[in-house]
């Protein structure tokens, strides 16, 4: 694994804008990196893929454990949330996708930093834009990227032909809109009828959630975190609604960083996990303190040694260095579609905490 400098494509801004990414440059700084890439060898990709499949399987075991034992309080889930988690898990509500963030320098085992299992973004960049970049540049022989075809395949297994699927999100945000629109596109290609709407266009007609045309919402993909959704006024209707949600409610167990201490307790010493706890005294050395529900690095802080205490709603995880080079620190986003690791996206930031100003850097392997 190494970061390479590569000549940018001529007119690359226009190229990515034509493909739908208007926010390639944000406040004058590149979001999409066209003049560099991360290069792997095939054995390294094999290792990442295996780690993703293993970790996802562990995560499903963790959900099953929580449902069987009722350990919801440790996850910060209320009784109402727990009931939804339990019902959706027992009903076998299917997942569409997620993204695991891994720390890895190219040697040893990749380690799970968190699982963005509910509302991951940077999907389109990973699936389409970096593939087009490889096609244009031929910078490497191949790329770990079956995201697009696996999404279409997955939609076909979780919806009926010609089924209407509503896809809602904060579509006034560029990144969220692109993710929602891309997933709508793959749904459409899978034979579904995709309807995109803003999350606050969702209505309640007394019996069902409805769209702006008063049509009932039977299947709803929401790029909107469960913990936000359930804190808002319409949450009162969720238990009685017949809407089936994508991602399902049981994903609250995985998108919550309280998952990290749970995994470490269930599978202590697993090579793809890092020691994690609610109790800072349980760890030593450099640690990372993370809020259970933070997004894009928000509230994440490194400590040279464990702090004396952490507030409720925070976890402590042992520090694992990211790949670091002259261009910054790289976190590896492993895409899971259904239950399978299917692709990789690399984001790079100036510091060791990957935040919302991280850059997307394409990858390839030989």
């Amino acid at each position: 694994m190494r970061r390479r400098v590569h000549p940018a494509r001529e007119h690359w801004r226009q190229r990515v804008a034509d493909l739908g990414l208007d926010f390639h440059t944000i406040d004058g700084a590149a979001y999409w990196v066209d003049d560099g890439c991360y290069h792997f060898d095939e054995a390294q990709i094999d290792r990442l893929e295996a780690a993703g499949n293993t970790l996802h399987a562990l995560c499903l075991e963790a959900v099953d454990h929580v449902v069987r034992t009722g350990e919801y309080a440790a996850l910060g889930l209320t009784d109402a949330c727990a009931a939804l988690v339990e019902a959706s898990w027992r009903a076998g509500e299917p997942t569409l996708y997620g993204r695991m963030d891994l720390a890895w320098t190219g040697e040893g085992e990749p380690r799970l930093l968190e699982y963005n299992a509910d509302t991951p973004t940077a999907l389109y960049e990973a699936s389409v834009l970096q593939w087009q970049w490889l096609e244009d540049t031929r910078a490497g022989r191949d790329q770990f990227n079956l995201i697009h075809e696996k999404l279409i395949e997955r939609w076909r297994t979780i919806i009926d032909p010609q089924q209407v699927v509503h896809l809602a999100g904060c579509i006034h945000e560029d990144e969220d809109r692109l993710t929602v629109q891309y997933l709508a596109d793959t749904c459409l290609q899978a034979g579904g009828i995709a309807r995109v709407l803003a999350v606050d266009e969702i209505g309640w007609d007394g019996q069902a959630f409805v769209d702006a045309d008063e049509q009932p919402i039977a299947r709803l993909f929401k790029l909107y975190p469960w913990e936000w959704l359930l804190a808002e006024p319409f949450a009162a209707h969720v238990p009685q609604a017949r809407t089936r949600w994508i991602e399902p409610a049981w994903k609250q167990v995985l998108s919550n960083k309280a998952l990290l201490p749970l995994l470490w307790r269930l599978f202590p010493g697993h090579p793809n996990l890092l020691p994690a706890s609610f109790d800072p005294h349980a760890l030593s050395g450099t640690v990372v303190v993370k809020p259970c529900f933070g997004r894009e690095g928000e509230g994440v802080r490194l400590w040279g040694e464990p702090p004396l205490a952490v507030p409720d709603g925070y976890v402590v995880q042992a520090y694992a260095p990211l790949y670091q080079g002259a261009h910054g620190h790289a976190v590896l986003g492993l895409w899971i579609v259904g239950d399978e690791a299917v692709g990789l996206g690399v984001r790079e930031d100036d510091g060791p905490v990957t935040g919302n100003r991280a850059r997307f850097v394409p990858h390839c392997f030989d």
Binding site: N145, H172, E173, A198, V199
Partner: protein, 125 residues
């Protein structure tokens, strides 16, 4: 395992010059929506010649925001309603033309119950 795609990625709805196969995104995120409810179809169609539907024992027009209603030339709440409010003809009087127009009630959208957190933050991670 070969991970290279064997197919060209085809997109139906994203990017320049592509086919749009479903309604485009409508951004109604900043304001609550409302719509007109009429006691008769004729009054509804006076405001919306092609946009009326029968819902819950009333004729209703499309949802709109107050911002959309501020266009005086084509108010989203309907031209007949605007004429009625301006006193250009009476409501409820039987007779030819617009004099038979019966003004609607305004129904506030039962919407906006989700999304309040997302108005200040991106939801992605």
């Amino acid at each position: 395992m070969a991970r290279r795609r064997s197919i060209e990625i085809a997109l139906l709805t994203i990017g320049a010059g592509v086919f749009v196969g479903y309604p485009l995104v409508r951004d109604m995120t900043s304001e609550p929506v409302q719509r007109n409810r009429y006691v008769d179809r004729r009054s509804c169609e006076c405001d919306y010649p092609a946009g009326c539907s029968y819902v819950d024992r009333a004729w209703v027009g499309p949802w709109y925001t107050r911002a959309e209603d501020r266009n005086r030339a084509t108010p989203a709440s309907g031209a007949c309603r605007a004429n009625y409010l301006a006193g250009r003809y009476a409501s409820g009087r039987e007779g030819a033309g617009n004099d038979s127009y019966r003004a609607p009630t305004i129904e506030q959208g039962r919407r906006g119950g989700f999304g309040s957190t997302g108005r200040v933050r991106s939801a992605g991670s």
